[in-house]
């Protein structure tokens, strides 16, 4: 369970989040919607520990553990995963070496031995199929020369490899055509287990049609101004965000 209490945060001295409180229970999928600049990506970056953001007050706990005192990799080892809005290209680091390092670091944190090479490669092959990722991409450097769609698929592929218990999808639908969107969304659904939860950031109804969130939050000016069921997405689709600003 992820619990955020009265979170205030800033970047370069500018306050972006003004008191966010949010509880995501095991098994729940929450969506976070809001205009550009509302603070959606800031919130997701803070949950995973991006060093550029400063938390000025408030708490975030994950299964009772204080996340804010942990390094990004320690949070990852607890099972927190971010599908990046703009995945980073890392020239010279092959996808295989990258995934092996990530998976074995997680296993080490869990007190497990590194996965033998043959088993690791088998796992790579299996999980690639979930998002229909070309085997050639696995031999390339991380995200280097990938198209926008391939980068997003690659994010979900990494999620499949690391099997997080809490995933954040930060505009994973942006830049995807309808077929790619379906593959990515269905891939995500295949990976869901009863205990996994997620926070989905999106501007569009379409992704939510696939993911079927339990709860939708509207974020405006660094604050959650409205929380409701799946119907909120339709309200936004029809009447925009202005209706919530007036609230």
């Amino acid at each position: 369970m992820l619990e955020i209490r009265d979170l205030h945060a800033s970047i370069n001295g500018k306050e972006i989040l003004n008191g966010i409180s949010l509880t995501i229970r095991d098994g729940e999928v929450h969506a976070l919607m809001g205009q550009n600049g509302a603070g959606k990506s800031t919130l997701s970056n803070i949950i995973v520990g991006h060093p550029a953001y400063e938390v000025t007050s408030g708490t975030i706990t994950f299964n009772g553990k204080d996340l804010l005192s942990m390094a990004p990799e320690e949070r990852a080892h607890l099972g927190i995963f971010l599908s990046f809005q703009q995945p980073v290209e890392i020239p010279g680091v092959s996808m295989t070496n990258f995934m092996r390092a990530a998976l074995n670091a997680k296993r080490k944190a869990q007190g497990l031995d590194p996965l033998p090479a043959t088993e690791f490669l088998k796992l790579m092959r299996e999980r690639r199929k979930i998002v229909d990722l070309d085997s050639k991409l696995a031999n390339r450097s991380v995200n280097e020369g990938f198209s926008g769609g391939e980068k997003k698929r690659n994010e979900i592929f990494q999620m499949a490899m690391l099997e997080p218990t809490f995933a954040i999808l930060d505009e994973t639908d942006s830049g995807l055509d309808v077929d790619a969107l379906r593959i990515v969304a269905e891939g995500f659904n295949k990976l869901r287990r009863p205990e996994t939860s997620a926070l989905v950031i999106t501007h569009y109804q379409r992704l939510l049609d696939y993911l079927k969130p339990d709860i939708i939050h509207v974020l405006i000016g660094g604050k959650i101004v409205h929380t409701g069921g799946p119907e909120v997405a339709m309200m936004i689709e029809n009447n925009g965000f202005d209706q919530f600003i007036k609230e």
Partner: protein, 447 residues
């Protein structure tokens, strides 16, 4: 000038002893070299090619010289285990400035190929040496050449006759070994006659916890249609200082691949001058530097396109940590008439800490009007967003930093054509970047 004076005095006092323990062909140019050294002195930082290294500082301390060539006991096999797995080489040792002839490879070399002490070769085969020794490395032009020529008593001679291919790589382990602080002046002469081919690997080690100062002057002749691959790997310690001047002359249709890897050192200054004397010759130069602590690595290169239709590529990459200082100055000179020259020069550097410093100076000088040349350099830091991305996936920060640095120099390592050596270097560089190679792999006690 004070640092230089002690060497002039030493030479004057010991010239008899120096000559006595060397050979006439090497003795003959000494007096002239001393004259040159009196005039030139040690190179100062006012000289364009010595801007980034204070030579006098390294030469000022008092080092011993083994001018009498007293045997320093060493069993190379005992102290050295830095073999390259799966690379079958003809393995030789050079201890300080002397070819170690008590541990020679058993597999025979192709007929006519010579691998031996330079002094011995000068006595036995003067015809191969007299017109070549000192021809490329002119003591009148460079104070370090002059100093080395004054004191050099021995070194290594490699000769590959016409149309002879040496399939098995020749590997030389240069060992610095002494019980006192020691200066070593080593001389290398490598000759590939027309149509000859060889792959040569030098591994530099220092096995005693002493201050070492090594000067090495190498002259490399690559004949018509000859092909040379030359790899130099330095894995010495922080108390060692290396001043290497290498001169390469390439004839028509020849190719030379020169790879220089500084994995661990104290202070290193490598000068490499390549002259393309015959048309359709090709030079490929690669350099990889990993330095931290207060290590200093200065690579200074010149590729001289004297004639038309030659190609050169140059790629040097540095990863600097701690308070390391790196310098790269690469001059590509395309002379009048050297039309259809193709040349590409790149130097890329990573300063992983705020205290690491890099000086980079790519230079392209063109006096012909039908050429394709480019040059460029970059100095950057580790990409924070890439680091964070990796950490988010659970990769600890140190490991992520290591992976990024390794990826950065990987391009140079991938250029190594000898596959087992490439694999071995991947392993060594990774260990080095993890901080597990602060002493060299094969040695007993270097720090």
């Amino acid at each position: 000038m004070e640092a230089a004076l002690q060497y002039i005095e030493l030479y004057e006092q010991c010239r008899g002893m120096i000559n006595e323990h060397s050979t006439p062909l090497l003795n003959q140019p000494r007096e002239q070299a001393c004259e040159d050294f009196r005039r030139l002195g040690l190179p100062t930082q006012k000289l364009e090619r010595y801007k980034y290294t204070d030579v006098a500082e390294s030469f000022a301390p008092d080092y011993g010289l083994n001018l009498r060539h007293i045997d320093i006991p060493v069993n190379p096999y005992e102290v050295f285990r830095c073999d390259v797995p799966n690379l079958s080489t003809s393995l030789y040792f050079v201890v300080n400035d002397r070819f170690y002839d008590r541990a020679l490879p058993t597999a025979p070399l192709p007929e006519g190929v010579l691998v031996m002490s330079l002094a011995e070769a000068a006595a036995k085969y003067p015809q191969f040496i007299e017109n070549r020794y000192g021809r490329l490395a002119r003591s009148s032009k460079d104070g370090l050449n002059a100093l080395n020529t004054m004191f050099a008593q021995d070194g290594l001679f490699i000769y590959v006759p016409k149309n002879t291919v040496v399939e098995r790589p020749l590997q030389f382990v240069n060992i610095l070994r002494a019980d006192v602080d020691l200066m070593v002046n080593r001389r290398l002469l490598i000759v590939l006659e027309d149509g000859a081919e060889a792959k040569i690997l030098f591994c530099d080690h220092a096995i005693d916890d002493r201050n070492f100062l090594a000067t090495q002057v190498s002259e490399v002749f690559v004949g018509e249609n000859a092909h040379l691959e030359l790899y130099e790997l330095e894995e010495t310690h922080v108390k060692s200082r290396r001043f290497s001047n290498m001169y390469v002359d390439q004839q028509r249709n020849s190719s030379a691949t020169l790879d220089s890897i500084t994995l661990h050192n104290g202070l290193t200054r490598n000068r490499t001058d390549v002259t393309l004397s015959g048309e359709y010759a090709e030079t490929r130069m690669f350099g990889c530097v990993v330095a931290d602590k207060q290590q200093h690595v200065d690579n200074n290169t010149l590729i001289d396109h004297r004639v038309a239709n030659c190609q050169s590529t140059e790629l040097y990459k540095y990863v600097l940590d701690g308070e390391a200082l790196g310098a790269f100055a690469g001059r590509v000179l395309v002379r009048e008439g050297a039309q259809k020259t193709i040349s590409q020069e790149t130097n890329a550097n990573l300063c992983a800490t705020d205290t690491a410093r890099m000086y980079t100076q790519p230079m392209l000088e063109i006096y012909a009007d039908d050429v394709k040349c480019s040059h460029g350099s970059t100095v950057g830091q580790l990409n924070d967003e890439a680091l964070f991305y990796m950490q988010q996936r659970g990769i600890p920060q140190d490991e992520a930093r290591m992976l990024l640095k390794f990826a950065f120099v990987g391009e140079v390592l991938d250029s190594i054509r000898l596959e087992p050596l490439r694999d071995r270097l991947h392993y060594l560089v990774e260990k080095r970047l993890r901080g597990e190679l602060s002493k060299c792999e094969g040695c007993r006690l270097c720090k």
